[in-house]
Symmetry: C2
């Protein structure tokens, strides 16, 4: 390779590819190529000047990709480019790698496009060998430091690059300490360190040649990208495997050269509260690793002013400079070497919701950012934490089981197994958690009464999750290690057996379940949050409504800024106490006449519900969806009835005949795939009297509220699950006929529209639009049908495996599947508007509260999204971000 013509020939095909960049060459825009760390160090070098940032160079992610593609071979040209960069580094620092007099030492660190803390490997103090260690000792006049550095390097190299088990080194250290009768590492003298270094070297073939050390270290970083830790981190954090990592080779600086040295981390603002004072920790006479490892107790960054006042002053200035430059809160690492401050790293600080909001508001006040910019620094999804109690983040607890984070917020209470127990406990002001394998319509009363819901089955879109989110109740679903035996009233988790009344705590924001008495932190909706929401409202184009079925929900949502109701599921009104029985009587009616009689009993109750809702939403639009679920949801489970029948038969009980009728009806209504069965407008076509009753109740409630208060909502009546335009035509006819009877005017007092939630409806949206004043995309059901995914069945079962096998990067029920379901939404929107230019378009699926999906809807010409009350503030912010982004 020393013959340049040979090198040129062998690397000819890739001769043009630049794999190595000096820090001075890069910038923050290059993070795809240089990784986050490389790009930031380069940027820092630009901003703070070369003297503040130890010099070095970055080997690109492209080199790593080429290395992986070649099955672990460095691409042609790379070693030459590294050698050249090293030459330049040696020239810049005036030191040489492996120099026997005054050696250059370097760190070799990974740095992917996105931060993957602790997941990739790092080698420090590279360049030491038997010769240069003496040079380091001489030039620093600190043999112990030199030998400790050498010992650390041989250990780290052996462990990271050569895969020697860490404990083998630890055993030796323990042995030597024992033999020498010392307790602390720092008590080991030069001689002991020499002995240890020798011992460590015997574990593997330690390369004395610093060039070889560097080559091996670089390859080790590349290899660490495909290591188990990194792969699983990427899976969790949805980072693509094919990005690869960059490698940063940087001159070492030492915070462990005595009392005028030190290392630390510093945030430009308080990383928990967002308050404008910088925060952080440092250790004097220590390397960065010591600060992070937590072995020694760190000191607060303010104390740095006492110990090293100049460095502190410089650091404070630098933090401000960086923040102004990056226009975001910064998270930095620094080292002070004999009084001189070096900045090793900076990045945008991760922060909890309250800090994010505080920073955004302060940054605008300080004129650091515009409102638009400030808004974009907030992770909308995390704002959830501001709206629910959470586990105290500083409290450590044992996780009993891990489920799906199904509805945010934390709750504690006694275990109950039935809705009835929950209701009773609530009446006695006892806090309970409703624990069930899964929940059904019948359990809903228990949701109100319980502090939280815990299920062993189902996922984020299970019944339990949906209802809990709608109500703002914390819920952990699909905690599959729980074996819940309702008959025995027991929950088993491994050896732990819990019964009724045992206390349990759940965190619906993380999915954790624990027996520990974790303190709960109550949410604070700060003035700053209000400010941010105000900006959002000024910036967004998308309307934000709420999915609400009760006056309570509606009032809360309105407080959260909802601009109306986008989805009122009228069936929930049939589940309240005293109504389930009446609804059951409707379904069990022998003929239409009897059904109408029974419905007449329900009507005043439903009217009451509507009045409450309309009162709460006066002046705003309210979309009421007529009955949607299959009727059997209002009946008990077949198996239960069967048992009842058997019992009645054996006891020769009086209610046998009644139970047999019930069983017959339950069996007749049973469906193989209820999701695709007799529901939605199909019910309205089969049993028009049900829809008629609902529409009558709506009309009466509307008239009553308007008369009482002089103001009513903008009423929108929605027909669910339409496939054919004729279905909507028939149902529209029914609605208009029933509404106009008491004198309400179509178009003025109410409009009629449909939910678009079947693929066919999207494909035929132009025909359907002829009979619709509005569309509301039901993206939950559209996801189920377009993908053939029953959310009850797939979320817990194979979606996790699909994520693991990289078929999807997240559940399509969390974020809209843009290429499939999303295109159907766009097709529906386009065809609908093609047929009717002023057709109103909304989204009322769960996706209406998901920021990524909201961005998609913003760009699909949708007019508004509708989400559960607790997601309304998030949707407002996300909608504004979408507008700014566009």
């Amino acid at each position: 390779m020393s013959d340049p013509s040979v090198a040129a020939a062998s690397s000819a095909p890739d001769a043009a590819v630049k794999y190595v960049y000096d820090f001075a060459e890069g910038s923050r825009d290059m993070s795809e190529l240089l990784g986050g760390k490389g790009a930031n160090v380069a940027e820092m070098t630009r901003v703070l000047g070369a003297e503040r940032v130890p010099a070095g160079f970055t080997i690109t992610t492209e080199a790593c990709v080429a290395y992986m593609a070649a099955g672990g071979e460095e691409p042609p040209g790379l070693s030459e480019q590294v050698a050249d960069a090293l030459d330049r580094l040696e020239e810049h620092t005036g030191k040489r790698l492996g120099d026997a007099e005054d050696p250059l030492l370097v760190s070799v660190r990974s740095g992917a496009r996105e931060s993957m803390p602790g997941m990739l490997d790092t080698v420090l103090n590279l360049g030491l060998n038997d010769e240069s260690v003496e040079g380091l000792a001489a030039v620093t006049e600190n043999p112990r430091f030199a030998w400790d550095s050498y010992r650390r390097f041989v250990q780290m190299f052996g462990n990271v690059v050569r895969g020697v088990a860490g404990e083998r080194f630890e055993e030796q250290i323990a042995r030597v300490k024992r033999e020498r009768g010392v307790r602390l590492d720092t008590e080991l003298d030069v001689d002991a360190l020499r002995e240890l270094t020798r011992a460590f070297r015997s574990f593997y073939d330690f390369p004395q040649d610093p060039q070889e050390q560097l080559r091996q270290a670089i390859d080790a970083v590349f290899d660490s990208w495909t290591g188990e830790r990194a792969v699983s981190y990427r899976r969790i954090n949805r980072i693509p495997d094919d990005w690869g990592t960059a490698v940063n080779v940087q001159q070492m600086v030492f915070g462990n050269k005595g009392d005028t040295s030190g290392s630390g981390v510093a945030f430009s603002r308080d990383e928990v509260t967002g308050a404008p004072e910088p925060s952080g920790d440092f250790l004097a006479n220590a390397q960065g690793e010591d600060v992070v490892s937590g072995v020694r107790n760190t000191r607060d960054i303010t104390e740095l002013a006492d110990v090293m006042p100049d460095a502190h002053k410089q650091l404070m200035e630098i933090l401000r400079t960086l923040e102004r430059h990056y226009k975001d809160m910064q998270d930095t690492e620094f080292t002070v070497e004999e009084g001189r401050l070096y900045m090793l790293q900076t990045r945008d600080a991760k922060r909890p919701a309250q800090a994010a909001v505080r920073f955004a508001v302060d940054a605008v006040k300080e004129e650091l950012l515009t409102r638009e910019e400030a808004l974009m620094t907030i992770d909308a999804d995390r704002l959830d934490a501001l709206l629910h109690p959470t586990f105290d983040p500083s409290f450590e607890y044992d996780v009993l089981a891990q489920g799906v984070a199904a509805s945010p917020g934390a709750a504690k209470g006694e275990i109950v197994f039935t809705a009835a127990e929950a209701v009773e406990a609530a009446a006695h002001k006892r806090a309970v958690i409703l624990v069930r394998p899964f929940t059904e319509a019948d359990d809903v009363a228990g949701f109100h009464a319980a502090r939280g819901i815990l299920t062993s089955e189902g996922g984020k879109a299970s019944h339990a999750a949906l209802v809990a989110r709608g109500m703002g109740r914390p819920c952990v679903s699909g905690a599959s290690t729980l074996e819940i035996d309702l008959g025995a009233e027991q929950v088993k988790v491994g050896d732990v057996v819990l019964g009724r009344g045992d206390r349990i705590a759940i965190d619906g924001s993380t999915g954790a379940v624990t027996l520990d008495d974790v303190p709960l932190v109550q949410p604070r909706v700060s003035g700053e949050f209000e400010t941010v929401l105000g900006w959002a409202d000024g910036l967004r184009r998308l309307g934000v409504r709420t999915n609400a079925d009760t006056p309570d929900d509606a009032i809360r949502a309105r407080e959260f800024g909802a601009e109306g109701i986008g989805l009122c599921r009228t069936e929930h009104m049939f589940l309240a106490e005293g109504r389930a029985e009446k609804m059951r009587a409707v379904i069990l009616a022998a003929d239409e006449d009897e059904r109408r009689e029974r419905l007449a009993e329900l009507r005043p109750l439903q009217q009451d519900d509507f009045e409450g809702l309309f009162d709460a939403m006066r002046g705003l639009p309210v979309t009421i969806r007529l009955l949607d679920p299959p009727l059997h949801e209002f009946l008990p489970a077949r198996l239960d009835v069967q048992h009842e029948v058997e019992r009645a038969r054996s006891e020769q009980s009086d209610d046998l005949e009644e139970l047999e009728t019930l069983l017959e009806r339950v069996s007749a209504l049973e469906e193989t795939n209820p999701m695709l069965g007799t529901r939605g407008c199909r019910l309205g076509i089969l049993y028009p009297e049900i829809y008629e009753m609902q529409v009558e109740a709506i009309a009466l409630a509307f008239a009553a509220v308007r008369e009482r208060s002089g103001e009513a909502p903008d009423l929108e009546i929605m027909i669910p699950l339409v496939d054919y335009e004729k279905e909507l035509e028939l149902m529209r006819e029914l609605v208009v006929r029933t509404m106009t009877e008491p004198g309400l005017a179509e178009g003025k007092d109410f409009t009629v529209g449909t939910m678009i939630e079947l693929p066919r409806a999207c494909l035929q949206a132009d025909r359907i639009a002829e009979f619709a004043d509005f569309f509301s995309f039901g993206t939950n059901d559209l996801t189920q049908t377009a993908l053939g995914f029953s959310r009850d069945d797939v979320e817990g079962k194979f979606i996790p495996i699909y994520i693991e096998r990289k078929i999807v990067d997240r559940s399509p029920f969390d974020t809209i599947d843009a290429p499939g379901v999303g295109q159907l939404v766009r097709m529906g929107a386009w065809l609908g508007r093609k047929a009717k230019l002023d057709l109103q378009l909304g989204v009322c699926g769960e996706h209406g509260g998901d920021p990524t999906s909201i961005d998609f809807f913003h760009n699909s010409g949708i007019d508004y999204v509708s989400c559960s009350p607790f997601r309304v503030p998030i949707a407002r912010v996300a909608a504004a971000q979408a507008a700014v982004r566009a």
Copy 2:
């Protein structure tokens, strides 16, 4: 109205609309406007000359539509145009309506665009009144004829136009006959007829004015379009309500003027066999109504030669002329009036399948038609009858219940309630019908053993229907009036109670169920049919394959002309005897290792199956779909296991533990919506070892057959239920890896493709095509997902009501829903071919055997359709017709 200026003013807006056409003005292309009868009479007038066809005029369907739109008011201008046409008719005939000397009499008949036999009203002898009856008597010198005609007219007018109940007239006739001591109508003399006429007139306000008679009669025909009979006929025959009917006013001719007169119907060829000799019936001295009513015994048309040789000769010539002109077999009505032959009607003859085939072949031989033309005269859907036994059409039987015509063919046998009983009965050569509420995988063994299947639930796409059609077993499904109590081994229908062993007969071509011992007619696959199929093969572009899972099916399908297997459902192989248990062991395996062990036991069995299939299909393509259904389909029902557990528990039985494990597994695999759950390639991703076993079995079978016979099929391995291209990529990898291990070559020995059966797959077909050599559209499941229709739940339940309410005109499972599902197929085909120009495109849903759907697929760029063996000949003909049509 007599003032022309007033008439002109009132009819001004529609003055330009021509509502009335003389027969001489029309032609057969005008059937939309003139109705079928009007257009044909006009055409006949053109072809045969005015002297052969009684003159008259047609009032257009547009007039009827306008009449309906105006709520039963004649449109302006109509009455004037009718008056003008009547003037022309009077001039042509030299007679006047209502003339006291020699009156013109006319018939007023309906005639819709499509024939609706007997559904619309007709009035004969119009123009008679108290005066003109005497003229008729004088001019015919036949007072009895005149008074009988008058009596008939007053009766018919009262009944048809004025709605007087028919029995009131019959009572009078009976009374007069009683009083006069006569038995037959023909024995009534002039006096008696006078008395009757008088009595009839007293029932209503009979209009003496012939113009008024005509106006009322025309309106009555219009009104009959919306009568109950007509509406229900249209519903059954899928005729749109808004077509309206035309009205034909035609000079009466009389076949009842003595022995040189007569009436009859004549077909240009034998209407049952298609043999080239004309067939038909006639009655001397009779009107057409007498021939049709069946009151008198008609005589064969050949006897006409003896009675009226000239008329017979003319008729034979006319039939040939008409056939040559219409290029199709004709069905005519004629009258001979005093030796003169009049043709009253001609239309393309409806004919059973064998006659259709015979005619087509003869017509080509006779050079009457080209092959293309001949092929188009065949109703492909009816060819089914040639492939299955049917009820003897001449036998009259009582219908016990009416179900869905789920799988064609008729069968008789004793009732059995379980598959096991069916198998046992078959072993004793007893013919049985398997009767169940619905069927499941477990029942399939019984399908082989039974002569036919009868269910009370489900529709054309229920499990029973699908499996029965695949096997060619007759099946009636969804006979919902049957109450089947499996526990009591009873079937109740109203008061009838049937038990095991009772004989029953079903006709799967009509859906009829009867207790009568109906003779069965065996199918004849004639040489003519072979000829037609040969033409079809020469003309069609679409390939025709079969869906077959067993060597028997494959052999039969190949005999029927299948060009390969388009869909082999491998799961059916797991259901055969001795395999279900092994498959169950696979599913119950505790871990992957045990599962692999159990699978290894299944592999040789599956290999055997494949060898049989490959042997049968050597040299042709065979598409094998890897396991598709959810695993719980191979396990017993949860309820049954639960009962078993309870039994075992109470009996302290040894198998309790085993049963509890089974229950646990069954519960764990249970799904809310199995259609949208863990099935298709999701299984292959979760349990790759299952697919690996299947692919190994395929590879081994392929190699064995090739070695043994030197020839193998073109192997196509198909991955079901793909949503994401990554799924196919992973499964393709698995297939290729497993196949290439024993040395088979990708692309040469086998290809890999996917079923496109989810909306998302259609939308992302270009991405999916990257990993597919072929697509096969699974339009059954695509219909279920695109429309949100679970076929198990909707076919019996709301599709009939949807047809009744005119939301759909047929089940989307019978004929592809072109605007929805069809567009997804087209999108998938387009995107797939966009990405891969030579991508092979097939259809393997039930629609592959439906002529209307085949036409759609032909026009969507599909390469082949695949259908059950018995539909293969139909698909060949339908594919050729699609090609000719295009």
